[in-house]
């Protein structure tokens, strides 16, 4: 297992370097001069040239590539073009909000999806099953920005049940009051996918002979479904929930903007608009790092859920 983890970590560095290279090339190739944008609507050629020099934009491309890479690897982050502030500070100020939103959204998703999927499978072809599946279809098809706005109009403006905006403190009443609507917005789409997968996975397991055996032993339905069936159906579900992390990141960009949540997603959008390369590169790498770490955790969880999984074999 140790060897497996080490291999995975080594692979992570390769993936990260690949991501860095692609993002850097995209930034350099994109039209639009960040120093010109910093001038606002009216240009100031002298100040623009000074900024280009200061930001290293006049250096050869390979020098820029190397310098940016070194600054990120050594955690001596570059300065944001737009905010003229250390990128590390900018990211750190927002990262906790995005993680908090992501965790709650996944929590919302799992809390809705897994019970719905289990009930749907258990009551296969019943009215509950049909309603759940139609609802999940609607959930998949609903765009986040529309759902977000609808939730705001109903639960914030009309009913006054929840707040919106970015909280001062995340782990507080204010934090939870403000995270519910964006988390539901973000979690609904994922819940729909997870519910459908849980249902189909459970349907497959329920028909297995060992479930029949468990019932024949006289176990209660609760134990049969939750202990024997669900645990075996969980493997593909965990994989999908893990793979949804990138969806969270993508969805967070829009959801954060709608709710004024001010996480990394919103920073990412504004940095692209202002060609703030240091922020774009750093933020992308953080997202990529998050995805590979989650994937590693999911891999490790396989052995917890299914002790038959051996890492050497998985690697092979």
């Amino acid at each position: 297992m140790r060897e497996y983890i080490l291999k995975k970590i080594a692979l992570m560095f390769v993936v990260m370097f690949g991501v860095y290279t692609i993002v850097f090339i995209l930034c350099i190739a994109a039209p639009g001069d960040p120093a010109r944008l910093a001038m606002g609507r009216r240009d100031n050629p002298e100040a623009r040239d000074i900024l280009r020099e200061k930001w290293g934009l006049n250096d050869p491309v390979h020098v820029q590539f190397y310098k940016t890479l070194i600054s990120i690897v050594t955690f001596d982050f570059p300065t944001s073009f737009r905010y003229r502030e250390n990128v590390g500070d900018l990211v750190l100020a927002r990262l906790p909000r995005t993680i908090f939103l992501g965790v709650i959204a996944i929590g919302v998703s799992v809390l809705i999806a897994i019970p719905a999927g289990i009930v749907s499978a258990y009551r296969h072809n019943s009215i509950i099953d049909n309603i759940t599946m139609v609802a999940s279809q609607v959930g998949v098809a609903t765009p986040n920005f529309w759902l977000g706005l609808m939730l705001i109009v109903v639960f914030y403006t009309k009913l006054g049940m929840f707040e919106i905006g970015a909280p001062d403190t995340l782990l507080s009443l204010d934090g939870f009051s403000k995270v519910i609507l964006p988390a539901v917005t973000l979690g609904t789409g994922m819940a729909a996918i997870t519910a459908r997968l849980t249902r189909s996975s459970m349907l497959g397991v329920i028909r297995e002979e060992y479930i029949m055996t468990a019932r024949a032993k006289g176990l209660t339905e609760r134990v049969v479904i939750l202990k024997h069936a669900f645990r075996n159906a969980l493997l593909p579900v965990i994989t999908v929930v893990g793979l949804q992390f990138p969806l969270i990141v993508g969805g967070a960009v829009i959801t954060e903007a709608v709710f004024g949540w001010h996480g990394l997603g919103q920073l990412y959008i504004s940095s692209i608009a202002s060609r703030d390369y240091p922020v774009i590169v750093t933020t992308t790498l953080i997202f990529a790092f998050g995805v590979v770490v989650i994937n590693l955790i999911v891999d490790l969880l396989y052995s917890v859920i299914d002790p038959r999984v051996e890492f050497e074999k998985v690697t092979a």
Binding site: L37, A47, Y83, E85, A166, V258, Q266
Partner: protein, 593 residues
């Protein structure tokens, strides 16, 4: 022997004795009268004594020994001056938080600001030598209580108020003005706003409260420019101590002092008790970052937002709601939106084609459809709320929608469709052009109509949207034929519009790449013309030239409608928009504080 002399002496002595006696009596009487008069007079003086110097004699003084003014209530708030913590301000109005939701500021360093969000905060934290009277674009004294301008218009001497404090408690002096003006143009700062100081050749500290600015050339709109927050005095010790963090820890002399900037989330500023013009009524000004105007509107409806614009999708809702209208105002912004023609390249170097397009594009119908008639159709460069706008020229503008006139104009100039494919040719090429815009639903809707309009007059256009960074790049490089954009004044003077068509300003800000020597001469003369009437005529002449040459297709002048909560009072908004107001007179009813 008695000598004759002695006899006379004795006679004289005898007479003298007699006269002396009389004189003594008279002296005695006069003395009595005088003493009586003095006693009487001194009696009078002691009755009129004003020992506390408040202009009220002690005998009549209700508060002997104290200035009676202390017991008056100058501001009518029911609190006598002696007990009034905020003299000149109505004490019952103090308190509460004014909440705004708007886009994120990029910096709080006033010398780097270019966006409205940053200006909204900086204008309140920093004060300038002169500023605009609330709700207007009229210049009034700020940190400078007065100023002199030399006859040649080259020297501006500003006399600073005494006792103006920075938020750190230190008194502001002329040295701070010099330090700040020098910093603005320094290479180290590389400020985009350094161009604003291009006329200034020298800043001299005359004494602690007098500073003299010398200009390279006479520049009449100079005072308007000085109201921009980039010209605010900064405390050197704070700027240097904060280093790179200065833009997140601003210290100024404005009515509000900085409290916090939670990155990407909220900026909070609070009332500065020692502001020279009186503490603002509101306690805090809280600025939450929300980019989506629909969400901001929902925040307003929920009562969380104090002041908001009315988004176009809700315009009819606004018109039907009496309460919303009661607490609202509409401002004609100092902004004009247009389509740039690239006047330097094919085909719009040809004036006849530009004019034909101006005839050919629908304007009023589009404004009525997209904006429901909120905005004013533009027919020239200057917005109606800007000094220099001329209603006569506006009314007489020739190139309003008339496709028949467009076709006739092109025909007259030999720009015809010779191969019968419906597209005219010019200089041997078919009139196929690109119509560029930034990412905007509004422009997309307008462009859909415009493509059909152009097709009708024999021009084929392809519509493409670009993100702002790419569009600006295309604009600077002249890589366009037709492009959407607009201009809003940085300072309220027509000069700030007319620079857009000066040949010396190609490619930026003269993005149309328009060149006309007559216009250039007028623009140069107007900058130095001290006679207001003559200067006004020059701007009319320039407008007339632009209305005939049409380097742009003039689209509209926006009119912004602002609504506020019924419990908020004292809102004043001028043509520069809500972000340029200091908001010191805004107050919130006690129940909502």
């Amino acid at each position: 022997m008695r000598t004759r002399a002695r006899h006379y002496a004795m006679l004289f002595a005898g007479e003298k004795t007699m006269r002396n006696r009389k004189l003594r009596w008279m002296g005695f009487l006069i003395s009595l009268v005088l003493i009586g008069a003095i006693v009487a007079f001194s009696g009078c003086i002691s009755e009129e004594k004003d020992s506390d110097g408040d202009g009220i004699p002690d005998s009549e003084d209700q508060y002997p020994g104290e200035d009676d003014k202390l017991y008056l209530d100058d501001d009518g708030d029911g609190v006598i001056n002696k007990d009034d913590e905020y003299p000149g301000r109505n004490d019952t109005r103090f308190g509460g938080a004014f909440v705004r939701w708007s886009s994120e500021p990029s910096t709080l360093d006033p010398q780097l600001v270019t966006d409205q969000a940053s200006i909204e905060i900086c204008i309140k934290v920093f004060d300038t030598l002169v500023h605009f009277a609330p709700g207007t674009t009229e210049i009034e004294p700020g940190l400078a209580k007065s100023w002199d301008v030399s006859d040649d218009g080259l020297e501006y001497t500003f006399y600073l108020r005494e006792g103006v404090k920075f938020h750190n408690g230190r008194n502001m002096t002329a040295d701070d003005v010099k330090y700040s003006f020098d910093r603005l143009v320094s290479e180290e700062l590389a400020s985009p706003r350094a161009t604003f100081a291009s006329e200034i050749s020298d800043v001299t500290v005359v004494n602690a409260t007098t500073v003299k600015l010398t200009l390279e050339y006479p520049f009449i709109p100079f005072l308007s420019k000085l109201a921009y927050p980039s010209f605010a005095p900064l405390p050197q010790e704070e700027v240097e101590a904060a280093g790179e963090d200065w833009s997140k820890n601003p210290v100024g002399t404005g009515p509000f002092k900085f409290v916090k900037w939670d990155a990407g989330s909220v900026v909070v500023i609070e009332a500065f008790d020692d502001y020279w013009n009186g503490r603002p009524y509101i306690d805090t000004y809280e600025y939450y970052v929300h980019e989506d105007e629909e969400v901001i509107w929902q925040g307003f409806l929920a009562g969380d937002v104090s002041l908001s614009g009315v988004p176009s999708p809700h315009w009819e809702e606004y018109l039907e709601d009496d309460e919303l209208q009661e607490y609202s105002m509409t401002v004609s912004e100092l902004v004009t939106y247009w389509l740039y023609f690239n006047c330097e390249t094919w085909p719009f170097k040809e004036k006849a084609i530009r004019n034909a397009v101006c005839y050919g594009l629908k304007k009023k119908e589009i404004l009525d459809t997209i904006f429901k008639g909120r905005h004013l159709e533009a027919r020239g460069p200057l917005p109606p709320s800007l000094w220099g706008f001329d209603q006569g020229l506006y009314d007489d503008y020739e190139y309003t929608y008339d496709p028949a006139a467009a076709k006739a104009l092109l025909d007259e100039n030999g720009i015809v469709d010779s191969n019968g494919d419906g597209i005219r040719e010019y200089e041997g090429q078919e009139l196929k052009i690109e119509y560029q815009s930034y990412v905007s639903d509004t422009w997309q809707t307008a462009a859909e109509t415009h493509l059909a309009n152009l097709r009708e007059i024999g021009i084929e256009a392809e519509y493409n949207q670009y993100d702002f960074a790419t569009l600006i790049g295309n604009m600077d490089e002249g890589n366009y034929t037709l492009m959407t954009l607009g201009w809003g004044t940085d300072y309220p003077d027509p000069e700030n519009f007319m620079i857009l068509w000066e040949t010396q300003n190609i490619p930026d800000p003269n993005s149309a790449r328009y060149s006309n020597p007559t216009f250039d001469q007028l623009a140069a003369d107007a900058k130095a013309e001290a006679d207001t009437e003559k200067r006004l005529q020059m701007y009319k002449d320039m407008t007339a030239i632009l209305q005939e040459d049409n380097p742009q297709w003039w689209f509209f002048h926006p009119r912004s409608t602002f609504v506020w909560q019924p419990w908020i009072h004292g809102i004043k908004i001028g043509g520069q928009g809500e972000s340029n107001e200091k908001m010191i007179d805004v107050w919130i009813e006690p129940d909502h504080q």
